[in-house]
C-alpha cells in the first residue's frame, strides 16, 4: 500500500465529506451519500487483510474525530472515539469476506459493497450511541429514527460508490493495490 497516496486521497475525500456532503442531503433530512465509505470499500476489495484493517481504523478514527456530538439541552459539544472506527473495521471485514465472490474491477461492485459496508458501519454506530444513551450519557439520541435515516444514507452510498469507483479504480496500481487489472503471464516474460 502506498500510504502517502492513501493519505492524500483520504484528505480530499474527508474534505468532500465535511464540506460538500450536506449539499447532497435529501431535503431537511440527514440522508446523504458518504464519500469515505466507497474509498474504504475500494481499499477493502483489493488490499491484504492486515493493511485494510489499518486503513479502516484510520478512516474510522478520522470520521469519529470530525464528528462533534451535540449534548442535550444545549450543553457543550463532545467528541467520541470508537463508533465509526469499529463500524468501519467491521464493514471492512464484511467486504473482505465477500470480495472473493465479486468482480473487483467492476464499478458496480464498489457501488453494491458500499451500501452493505455503510449499513454495517451505521448499525455499529447506532448500537454504540444507543448503549451510551441507555447508560445515561446526555446525548439527544432517537435510535429508531437514527437507524432508519442512516440505512437510507447507506442506500445513497451506491451513487457515490459508483461515481468514485471510476476515479479510484484507475488509481489502484498507484496505491499498490491489486484489483486484477494487469495480470502478466510469467512464461512470456
Amino acid at each position: 500500500m502506498n500510504w502517502p497516496l492513501f493519505a492524500l486521497i483520504s484528505w480530499i475525500l474527508f474534505g468532500l465529506e465535511l464540506g460538500f456532503r450536506d449539499a447532497l442531503r435529501l431535503g431537511p433530512t440527514p440522508i446523504a451519500p458518504s464519500f469515505v465509505v466507497p474509498f474504504l470499500v475500494f481499499v477493502s476489495i483489493s488490499a491484504p487483510p492486515n493493511v485494510l484493517r489499518i486503513a479502516a481504523l484510520i478512516l474510522g478514527l478520522v470520521t469519529d474525530l470530525t464528528f462533534p456530538i451535540e449534548l442535550r439541552d444545549g450543553g457543550p459539544s463532545a467528541t467520541i472515539i470508537g463508533p465509526y472506527a469499529l463500524g468501519y473495521l467491521l464493514a471492512s471485514q464484511l467486504v473482505l469476506t465477500l470480495r472473493s465472490m465479486m468482480i473487483r474491477r467492476n464499478p458496480l461492485t464498489v457501488a453494491f459493497l458500499s451500501v452493505l459496508a455503510a449499513a454495517v458501519a451505521q448499525i455499529v454506530v447506532v448500537t454504540m450511541f444507543t448503549t451510551r444513551s441507555v447508560i445515561g450519557d446526555p446525548i439527544d439520541w432517537h435510535p429508531t429514527h437514527e437507524l432508519l435515516t442512516r440505512l437510507a444514507s447507506a442506500l445513497t452510498c451506491s451513487v457515490s460508490g459508483l461515481v468514485l469507483s471510476f476515479v479510484l479504480l484507475p488509481l489502484a496500481p498507484l496505491l499498490g493495490l491489486n484489483i486484477g487489472l494487469a495480470r502478466r503471464n510469467p512464461r512470456r516474460s
Binding site: G19, A23, P68, I69, G74, A85
Partner: protein, 322 residues
C-alpha cells in the same frame, strides 16, 4: 525474518487490543473523555484547507437563503432596516423594563444597559462528518475573543445560535434549529407594539421551531391554567402566519445584546390539542441555518475585557457559562 520497514501491518495482538480500547473509549461517559476534543480540533484543522473550498462550493450550489433572492443593494437595505428596527425595539423594551424597575434599581448608579458589542465575521469551514450533528465549524476562536456561548448571527440579524466549543482558531456553533439546542423563548411581533405575545419554541429537527404561544402575564408556558389565566388566554391576540418572532429570553440564558434578534417568521398556526385557547406556532428562520457560509459572532466588550484581565491574572473566565 526481518519485516520490511515499508510494510505497515497490525500484529496478531494489536488488533484485539485496538478493538477493546475503542470499545472502552466508545462507551466511556462523555465527562471523562473531554480531552479527545483536542484531537478532533487538530484533525479538523488539518482537513480545513480542503474542506473550506468544498464548503464554499456547496453553499454556492445550494445557498442557505429560503426567501427570494433580491439584488445586493436591496438585501443591504433590508438588512439595514432590520438593524434599525431591532435597535428601536430593543430600546422600546429597555424603556418599558426601566419604567417598571426604576424604583427598585434607583440606588444603582451605573446600569450599563447599552452593552457594546464587537462583531467578528468568520466563514464556516465545515460541517460534521456525520450529518446527525448540526454543529458548524467556524474559523474564529479564542484568539478572536470567541468564548463558550458567544452568540452567532447570520445576515439580516437572523439569530443563528451559540458557540458550544472553542479552540484557539476555531469554534463550533450550534444552530437554534438543531434538535439538541433546547427550548428558546420568543416574542411574536404584533402590529400593535403594546401587545405582547410570547412563545416557547422547541427545535423540531427539520429546520423549524415549534411551540405554544402565551401571554406575558404568565411567568411561563407551564403555569397552571386557572380561571384567570384562561380568561387571559381567551383575550390574547391570535398569532398569524408571516409574523416575525424575535428572541425574548432570560438574560441568564441569552445575553442582553442578543435580545430581539430575529428567530424567524411564523409558518403555521395550529390549535393546541391540550389547551384549546392557546395556539401552537411553527417558526421557520429567514435562512436555512445549517447552510450559512458565513457567521457573525457577537462578543460583548465587557466580556472581552474581563477575559483579558483574567488571562493576565492567569484565571479562566469570559462571557459564557459552559
Amino acid at each position: 525474518m526481518a519485516r520490511s520497514p515499508t510494510k505497515f501491518t497490525l500484529g496478531r495482538k494489536a488488533l484485539p487490543i485496538a478493538v477493546v480500547l475503542l470499545l472502552v473509549l466508545g462507551l466511556t461517559p462523555v465527562r471523562f473523555i473531554g480531552w479527545i476534543g483536542w484531537f478532533g480540533t487538530l484533525t479538523s484543522t488539518l482537513i480545513a484547507p480542503i474542506s473550506q473550498p468544498f464548503t464554499a462550493l456547496s453553499r454556492w450550489l445550494a445557498p442557505g437563503k429560503t426567501a427570494t433572492l433580491d439584488a445586493p443593494v436591496v438585501n443591504a437595505l433590508k438588512e439595514e432596516i432590520e438593524n434599525w428596527r431591532t435597535q428601536f425595539l430593543r430600546q422600546q423594551q429597555e424603556n418599558i423594563k426601566l419604567q417598571a424597575i426604576m424604583e427598585e434599581l434607583y440606588r444603582l448608579k451605573s446600569l450599563n444597559l447599552d452593552v457594546p458589542v464587537r462583531q467578528v465575521t468568520a466563514p464556516v469551514i465545515s460541517a460534521s462528518s456525520d450529518l446527525s450533528s448540526g454543529l458548524l465549524r467556524v474559523r474564529a476562536g479564542e484568539q478572536h475573543g470567541v468564548d463558550l456561548n458567544t452568540v452567532a448571527v447570520a445576515s439580516g440579524l437572523q439569530l443563528l445560535g451559540r458557540v458550544k466549543s472553542t479552540s484557539s482558531r476555531q469554534c463550533l456553533v450550534q444552530p437554534i434549529t438543531s434538535r439538541s439546542a433546547g427550548a428558546i423563548r420568543g416574542r411574536v411581533m404584533m402590529e400593535n407594539p403594546e401587545t405582547r405575545l410570547l412563545c416557547q419554541l422547541e427545535p423540531v429537527g427539520n429546520g423549524t421551531l415549534r411551540g405554544p404561544v402565551f401571554r406575558p402575564e404568565r411567568s411561563s408556558v407551564g403555569d397552571a391554567a386557572g380561571p384567570d389565566t384562561a380568561a387571559l388566554d381567551a383575550a390574547a391576540p391570535e398569532p398569524a402566519v408571516g409574523q416575525t418572532v424575535r428572541l425574548d429570553d432570560d438574560a441568564d440564558r441569552w445575553p442582553r445584546h442578543a435580545q430581539l434578534l430575529i428567530i424567524g417568521k411564523i409558518e403555521r398556526v395550529d390549535p393546541n390539542p391540550d389547551m384549546p385557547l392557546r395556539k401552537i406556532i411553527t417558526v421557520r428562520p429567514l435562512l436555512a441555518l445549517d447552510r450559512v457560509s458565513e457567521v457573525v459572532l457577537r462578543i460583548a466588550e465587557e466580556a472581552a475585557e474581563l477575559r483579558e484581565e483574567n488571562s493576565r491574572a492567569g484565571k479562566p473566565g469570559g462571557e459564557g457559562k459552559p
